[in-house]
């Protein structure tokens, strides 16, 4: 009688052990399955983020090239020649030709703006902020506070929130 009972008990305990094991396996597999689904979901999100990154990167690369060209235009404008000794007619012709060139520059700026680029030009006399501006030189100037912008050598550009090119400035010592 006791023996029978014992064997029943051991059978029951074996069964419950098997059930326990199976339950554990079930849990493990469910966790694995959920993880696989989550991984897939994350992968989809990652891929879409990566796609956006690639698009943004391609845009940045393209913009960088154009911004360099634009900087040259700005540089050119700073070298306006002295035409005082020129004949009136010649002067007129040069100005008319030059204004055409300036229009080309404007058209280029407009195109870049349409792509989402925004120019950044800090105010003269405002404090210098290294987080968003690059100092390329410093000089003493009477009446100006230390580390304030004296001159903007090249304007900056940003695409969305990202600063592609910080404005380059000369600051007071």
């Amino acid at each position: 009688m006791t023996e029978k009972k014992d064997s029943k008990t051991s059978k029951a305990s074996r069964a419950s052990k098997v059930v326990e094991e199976l339950e554990m396996k079930c849990e493990e597999y469910l966790a694995g399955w959920k993880r696989a689904l989550a991984d897939y979901d994350n992968l989809k999100r990652d891929l879409s983020r990566e796609r956006d990154d690639i698009r943004r990167y391609a845009m940045e690369r393209a913009a960088e090239g154009f911004l360099g060209v634009l900087e040259h235009f700005d540089q050119a404008m700073k070298h306006e020649p002295d035409l005082s000794s020129c004949d009136k007619d010649v002067k007129k012709k040069i100005f008319s030709w030059l204004s055409g060139i300036i229009h080309i520059r404007t058209a280029m700026v407009e195109e870049l703006k349409a792509l989402g680029l925004e120019s950044v030009e800090p105010e003269i006399g405002s404090p210098y902020l290294p987080q968003i501006q690059e100092s390329v030189g410093a000089r003493k100037e009477e009446g100006s506070k230390s580390e304030h912008i004296l001159e903007v050598v090249a304007r900056g550009w940003k695409l969305g929130e990202k600063l592609l090119r910080p404005p380059r400035v000369i600051i007071s010592e």
Binding site: G32, H79, P130, S135, V136, A138, S146, E147, K162
Partner: protein, 635 residues
């Protein structure tokens, strides 16, 4: 259980990078400014604000005394070290003695190099947390293989000051090898060639059971990309001086533009043979504005920097000597650092070793990626990734002419399933044989037969009309089920193949090799079969057209088509692919011109005889034909 992420940090002399394991793979984390690397620079502005990274770099020109860079050169050093003495002469900031150690001045305060490195690590940590959206508490930090205990301990201290638990300090070359997964191949000798912005390191690694041992290391602590840039800048200045008589090195703004242009040209010349340096209005002379416009060829660039690149080979030889091994024993070469992208550098290294270098992982990021791999192992993430199997060989069925049509390409992760619809090859065919194959050969006879079955009971129909969907389904254990179902009758049949991935490694390799060896022959054979199949279809279609439209085709046309048809029939079962193609093209041409004429005639008939009563049959045919034609056009 939640466990904070462990990040991998490449704390570089010039730039630093952070990576983390995401979804089982190492990924670089961009910093707050959206860049993948962060300058290892710390500064304090005149207003007392501390700046780290790109913002510190942006003010370096106007605040050199309080801008600390290359701090890695000083970490863990004694003030009496030669290296420190050398740096004292070169650095614009103040280096002072602090007991036996070193201190640097930043603003009004004195700091240890550990504290400065901690500021860099602090920013890296904060930006990583920002990206991940969760707290980061631990890190694996890399150091050069030649770092001694004091330098390693100081780096660890820096991490701890930054609030990071430093789980491990690992060697940079080891990290690079980890990023390539070379730690899994035991008994390998690896050379890691690291040409960074300011330093050059070479290490010989020995990968053994569970360990990566640095057998030797060598390098030049003052040779890097900056020296290469300097050569280009000097050349530009010199050339301009020769041409215009103006020295641009004194003009800070012009110099900045030249630096940018030199770097751009150097990068361009990694892929192009020639680059234009174009900086108009660079300065002004007595006779008006001056433009800097010149061409730099790759050959010229290589001439300018050849000795610098050549100089790196000496430490490589020394490292090999120290490791007591010949260059032939090096099995893998890993390139690290942006400068290794230069074709000249790559060529010198590859020529020296006589083998290809590994460049598939971005050389600026490979060390951080490897640190992240190590972090992943420590965190259990890398080990924990469920190992998924892949099908070692492609799986498919035999189609018309003995061609193997692949349904599942090799290296597809399993479990997976794929279906494709096939049709009959002959009129009134009521059964199809599905022959499942495995292998890479184009023709079924060269591949392994897995099994075959017949699907019968397909309703009688002209060839190409029945739709039989064949599905391959492999479960996670590699058991393949192939089924076929006739869409019209719903009849289906399937077989289960137990050992679809049960091939030994040798068998798989042999089959892959066979496919490579026979690739050209197989391709030719497949093209011949395809040409024959196409010819077969052409013959069938044209004969059908001749029978159905016999009243509308003139005798002359019938004769021409008949001749071309016979010509194609004669060659179609032969071995000459070109002859079959030529005959098929000729038949297509004549049959198309006849068909076009027929449509034209039909159209004018329909237009002029619209009111006639007895045209139902003809009109139906026209509508039917036009519909087909339009459908074809759309394709």
């Amino acid at each position: 259980m939640f466990m904070p992420k462990i990040i991998g940090i490449d704390l570089g002399t010039t730039n630093s990078a952070v990576a983390v394991i995401l979804g089982g793979q190492p990924k670089i984390l961009e910093n707050k400014e959206g860049h993948r690397t962060t300058p290892s620079i710390v500064a304090v502005s005149k207003s007392g604000e501390r700046l780290v990274g790109i913002s510190a770099k942006r003010q370096a020109v106007t605040n050199p005394k309080n801008t600390l860079f290359s701090i890695k050169r000083l970490i863990g050093r004694r003030f009496s070290d030669d290296e420190v003495k050398r740096d004292m002469k070169m650095m614009p900031y103040d280096i002072v003695a602090r007991g036996e150690g070193v201190g640097v001045k930043l603003g009004n305060q004195e700091h240890t190099p550990e504290e400065i490195s901690a500021m860099i690590l602090g920013k890296l940590k904060a930006d990583a947390e920002d990206r991940l959206g969760e707290k980061v508490e631990g890190a694996v930090i890399t150091v050069p293989a030649y770092f001694d205990d004091a330098q390693r301990q100081a780096t660890k201290t820096a991490g701890e000051i930054a609030g990071l638990k430093v789980h491990r300090i690992i060697n940079e070359p080891t990290a690079a090898a980890l990023a390539y997964g070379f730690d899994k191949k035991k008994g390998q000798q690896i050379c890691v060639y690291d040409l960074g912005g300011g330093t050059f390191d070479v290490s010989i690694l020995d990968v053994a059971e569970d360990t990566v041992e640095v057998k030797s290391t060598n390098g030049d602590t003052h040779l890097g990309g900056d020296d290469f840039d300097r050569r280009v800048i000097d050349w530009i200045i010199e050339e301009f001086k020769k041409e215009e008589g103006i020295d641009l090195s004194k003009d800070a703004l012009a110099l900045q533009r030249i630096k940018d242009a030199a770097e751009k040209a150097k990068i361009e010349l990694s892929t192009a043979q020639e680059s234009e340096i174009n900086q108009p209005f660079i300065t002004s002379g007595a006779d008006g504005p001056k433009h800097l416009v010149m061409r730099l060829t790759r050959a010229k660039l290589e001439e300018l920097v050849h000795d610098l690149a050549q100089k790196t080979l000496e430490p490589v030889k020394k490292a090999l000597l120290d490791a007591k091994m010949g260059k032939e024993s090096v099995e893998e070469i890993v390139m690290v650092g942006g400068m290794t992208r230069m074709p000249l550098v790559m060529k010198l290294v590859e020529d020296f070793f006589g083998k290809k270098a590994n460049v598939s992982v971005n050389p600026d990021e490979v060390v951080a990626m490897g640190a992240a791999v190590q972090a992943g192992v420590l965190q259990g993430e890398v080990k924990d990734v469920l190992l998924l199997d892949v099908t070692p060989l492609s799986l498919g069925i035999e189609t018309l002419g003995g061609v193997m049509t692949k349904l599942i390409e090799r290296n597809t992760t399993i479990p997976t399933s794929k279906s494709q619809t096939f049709s009959t090859a002959a009129d009134n065919q009521t059964s199809v044989e599905v022959h499942a194959l495995q292998g890479e050969r184009e023709m079924s006879e060269g591949n392994k037969s897995l099994g075959r079955f017949i699907l019968s009971g397909i309703p009688m129909a002209p060839r190409g009309i029945p739709q039989v969907e064949v599905s391959f389904n492999i479960d996670a254990n590699g058991i393949l089920k192939v089924s076929a179902k006739d869409k019209a009758s719903g009849k289906s049949q399937e077989i289960t193949i137990q050992a679809s991935t049960g091939l030994s490694k040798e068998e798989v390799e042999k089959m892959k090799k066979d496919a490579e060896v026979h690739a050209e022959d197989d391709k030719k054979k497949k093209e011949l079969i395809e040409a024959r199949n196409l010819a077969d279809t052409m013959v069938y279609t044209v004969e059908k057209m001749l029978a159905e439209q016999k009243d509308k085709i003139s005798d002359d046309e019938k004769k021409t088509i008949g001749e071309k048809l016979e010509a194609l029939k004669k060659v179609k079962d032969g071995e000459d692919k070109e002859a079959i193609k030529k005959a098929a093209d000729e038949l297509t041409e004549v049959s198309h011109s006849v068909a076009a004429k027929m449509y034209k005639e039909e159209k004018s008939e329909v237009g002029s005889e619209k009111s006639e009563g007895d045209k139902t049959e003809g009109e139906e045919k026209v509508v039917d034909a036009e519909f087909k034609e339009k459908g074809d056009d759309k394709k």
